[in-house]
Amino acid sequence: MFWHIFSNRLKCIIRDKQLVFWTLVFPLILATLFSMTLINISKQEAFKSIDIAVVNNEAYQKDVGFKNFLTEASQGDNKLFNINLTTKEEAEKLLDNGKVEGYITVETQINLVVKNSGLNQTIIKSVLDEYNQTVSAVNSIVTDNPTALQNGLLEDVGKRIEFTKNIQAGTKEKPDSAVNYFYTLIAMACLYGSFFGLKEITDIQADLSKRAARLNVAPVHKLKVLVSGLCAGFAVLLLEISILLSYLVFAMKVDFGDQIGYILLTCFVGCATGISFGAIVSAIIKKREGVKTAILIGATMTACFLSGMMYGNMKYIVEKNVPILAYINPAALITDAFYALYYYDTPTRFFTNIGLLSGLTVIFCLVTYLIIRRQKYASI
């Protein structure tokens, strides 16, 4: 009987094009879009040297300190400026044509001429301000205390002292926060498995569908039908998540760490949570299937938003301000389980997430069972 129901439910799920689209095709499309967007963001965030012009006049040639400062700033792999030494007229022309972000003239003081306001202009101004402040500070110290020069003032001025220290929590030298977006995507796909749970409950509750009424008059225990159906849904969802995972790992090159067993365990538990979530929502809410689907989509997207799908820092905002929400949000738990595998070298955080997810799944299943075990209905 199990195989009879299981195989037929499998056919029903696989042939439901809408269901397959939302649980497999849509996450794959979203993964591709995420990848394209995140690459663009990375490109935008990469620093490019700023093109500036410096008027090569007599004052500039005499100001050896400033000349050396600019030379330093325009050398090396991570140089700050690309400098074009030129006449004032030519500098004006370059600025007008947008070839440089600004030009510097040294007269009685150092002047910056820009045409627009923006990030690059702000950087140039900040650098010049800092230079001016440092020169002014050195001049004033030397005036008040000429011996300071012999006591290593110039060396001290050149040093940058940090009063805070970075301590690395995980094993990654350069953790990539973008991976979190892909983890939330898997969480979303797992929670979209709730549609399978919804379908199974609808098809065994006589007050929800006529097919279920027909099934309820058959000589089969309802729980047997439910378990067979949920197993079919679980098998399909696990396969879909595996396809998504493979796509992310092999095509999108998303780093999941190398603990394949734990990665699969997360997918396994995530699928179970997703399906049981759909089952409990379908059992509790006595509305039309369309309304329940809308509720599931809304709940899934909210859960994913709170785990950082649309705004990466949201996960940390929730953890800081409403920590309980991070512990009961299945999307956050799935996301964090993947992140823990990626970043931490100890499994404590990972197992905490898996434990909480398993707990939620057990609660969802128990409540669903308590609701659907009723064998007669008040109305159908």
Binding site: H4, R214, K376, I380
Partner: protein
């Protein structure tokens, strides 16, 4: 008794859907539940099938108390619901096989039964079709095949011909008769009196959750005063003639509107002859004449004061 229902009461809040309903159905009967929409037919069926909770009463099927987990009873029941209840994602064959498989686990037996059911409803050439490709009538046939493939001893059909074209309806009714001839007891609910009259050996007429009459169609018709209804096309019938007609024997009521004379007779013989003699004696010109025996609608009308299809 195949079905025994005693004093069944079902309430939806303040509304009494079934009011001390009692029926008994013998083996081999085609038992009709007739009543207008909302009279409690489907509620009664759902209670009999243990799908619905009820407030009071006793239900026995095959002389055993019916319960949701009475699988030995359920094994012998086939249900065809009012709405088509099949899976859109499964083909005609797969749908019948799926539902049959809930009753019959042996694959070879099931295959044979499914083939027989497909033959029975005439869906052989549509066996690989998905339900959405079937017309309304074919869908109804599939619905029936899913309910009867496992060869149940008791078949319950809840308004199986709603929204079905006349040809499919005739096929369905013929099929039900055939199932009955093959030994199945049938409970048939409908608000179409013609179907129930044509099909059922015994009929219960329900209204507002109550049984208002029960018996064979002849027994039911014998319960009412109306014996015959004669309609005559008459031109220019004066009020004095109309008054004289009302004095004829067995007359219950006379109506004359738009050249149509409708006379309802109580029981009695030779009513038509008497009327025609009257026309001849008074040289009254008449056109077409129709004589109708009482229908179940007349039974319903006389008992409840309203039409069956109200």
């Amino acid at each position: 008794m195949i079905v025994s229902v005693k004093n069944l009461v079902k309430r939806y809040g303040e509304l009494v859907a079934l009011d001390h309903l009692s029926i008994e159905i013998k083996e081999g009967e085609i038992f009709g539940l007739l009543g207008p929409n909302g009279s409690g037919k489907t509620t009664a069926i759902n209670c009999i099938l243990s799908l619905l909770n009820y407030d009071k009463g006793e239900i026995k099927l095959f002389d055993k108390p019916m319960a949701p987990d009475a699988y030995d009873i359920k094994r012998n029941i086939g249900v065809i619901m009012q709405d088509v209840a099949v899976f859109e994602e499964l083909t005609v064959y797969e749908n019948i096989d799926y539902f049959c498989g809930l009753y019959i686990s042996d694959k070879a037996t099931r295959k044979k039964l499914v083939e027989e059911a497909i033959d029975f409803v005439g869906l052989n050439e549509f066996r690989k079709f998905y339900p959405k490709k079937l017309s309304g009538g074919l869908l109804r046939r599939l619905n029936i095949a899913c309910g009867i493939a496992h060869k149940p001893k008791l078949i319950i059909l809840d308004e199986p011909t709603v929204a079905v074209d006349p040809q499919s309806r005739n096929n369905i009714l013929a099929g039900i008769k055939k199932l009955n001839e093959e030994g199945a007891t049938v409970i048939y609910t409908s608000h179409y009196m013609e179907e129930v009259e044509q099909l059922c050996s015994r009929i219960v007429i329900m209204d507002k959750g109550k049984v208002i009459a029960m018996g064979s169609k002849d027994e039911l018709k014998a319960m009412i005063k109306l014996g015959e209804k004669i309609k005559v096309e008459v031109f220019d019938l004066s009020s004095s003639y109309l008054a004289n007609i009302k004095q004829l024997p067995n007359i219950n009521s006379v109506e004359y509107t738009e050249n149509n004379l409708v006379i309802k007779y109580d029981k009695g013989k030779n009513n038509l002859n008497t009327l025609l003699d009257f026309f001849r004696d008074n040289e009254i010109t008449y056109g077409r004449i129709y004589s109708e025996l009482p229908t179940l609608n007349d039974v319903f009308l006389e008992i409840t004061g309203k039409e069956l299809r109200d």
